[in-house]
């Protein structure tokens, strides 16, 4: 196992940067394009994970565990968020019988 982490010596940090950015924007496009609110929600998770990935990468490259701790926190928050968000989605579905975000047009004054 010891040789696996050696990878960080051969891969430039930039590549992680680009990877996580790509992931982030895939998530973002998903959020914009998809109409099913559950999928939108999942795309948000992808975006969160992209950020996590970047944090872990920078933690590894700087040799600082604090970045990984941040990831832990993000996971905690994400878990809380998902539970609440899904509860809201369920409620919405109960009331409106749909998960299409185009039909959620009550969000105005």
């Amino acid at each position: 196992m010891n040789h696996i982490p050696e990878i960080i010596k051969t891969i430039p940090f930039d590549h992680y940067l680009i990877l996580s950015a790509a992931l982030f924007f895939i998530g973002m496009i998903g959020v914009l394009v998809r109409k099913n609110i559950i999928i939108v929600f999942m795309c948000i998770e992808i975006m969160l994970n992209a950020v996590n990935l970047l944090l872990v990468a920078s933690a590894a490259y700087r040799g600082d565990a604090a970045g990984q701790v941040m990831v832990l926190f993000i996971m905690a928050v994400a878990a809380a968020e998902v539970s609440l968000g899904l509860a809201i989605i369920v409620m919405l579905y109960k009331n409106l019988q749909t998960t299409n975000i185009d039909l959620f047009n009550q969000l105005k004054g």
Partner: protein, 172 residues
């Protein structure tokens, strides 16, 4: 060994794209699980062994089960997407890509980060991580427990049956 990284990266991107491309929600979820696994693999490459496990347990395990559960619960197996107009879709794609491009060009124009020390594989171990967590980040840790409590109560409150009026009646 670099190949491993590129293969993993490619797979991650492809499965992430598949998440948003597949029409069936269940398929999306499964691709998402795959994405999470691949990201966990990346974590291992990056000396974050403990996080890789937590990622699998929390994300691919707990959270995705929740998603699946909700999809089953709401019986959303059918496709509900109706592409009425392509205009917002195009706008979304274009603006998303624009942001990406902008991001990239911003990255190009910024100066490169120097790698200071590659640390070693110990930093990602439970022992090391726990030490940092409980020494430097004790207070946020405790606060996050409160967050969970709040989330728990919130969920209970939301899913409680309204006796007198439903949210629908409240809406104009």
């Amino acid at each position: 060994m670099e190949k491993l990284f590129y293969i993993l990266s490619g797979l991650t991107l492809i499965s992430a794209i598949m998440v948003i491309l597949s029409k069936h929600p269940i398929r999306s979820i499964l691709f998402l699980v795959l994405t999470f696994f691949l990201i966990s693999a990346h974590y291992i490459l990056l000396n974050a062994q403990f996080l890789a496990l937590v990622n699998i347990v929390v994300y691919a395990g707990a959270i995705m089960v929740l998603f699946l559960f909700v999809v089953m619960f709401l019986n959303l197996n059918r496709d509900i997407e109706r592409f009425k107009s392509w205009l917002p879709l195009a706008a979304a794609v274009i603006s998303g890509s624009c942001v990406f491009l902008v991001f990239l060009s911003a990255y190009k124009s910024s100066h490169q980060i120097q790698i200071e020390n590659s640390g070693g594989y110990q930093i990602g171990l439970v022992e090391n991580l726990g030490e940092v967590l409980y020494r430097d980040y004790l207070f946020p840790m405790e606060i996050s427990s409160v967050l969970f409590l709040v989330a728990m109560i919130g969920v209970m409150l939301l899913s409680r049956k309204e006796k007198t009026e439903t949210v629908k009646n409240l809406l104009p």
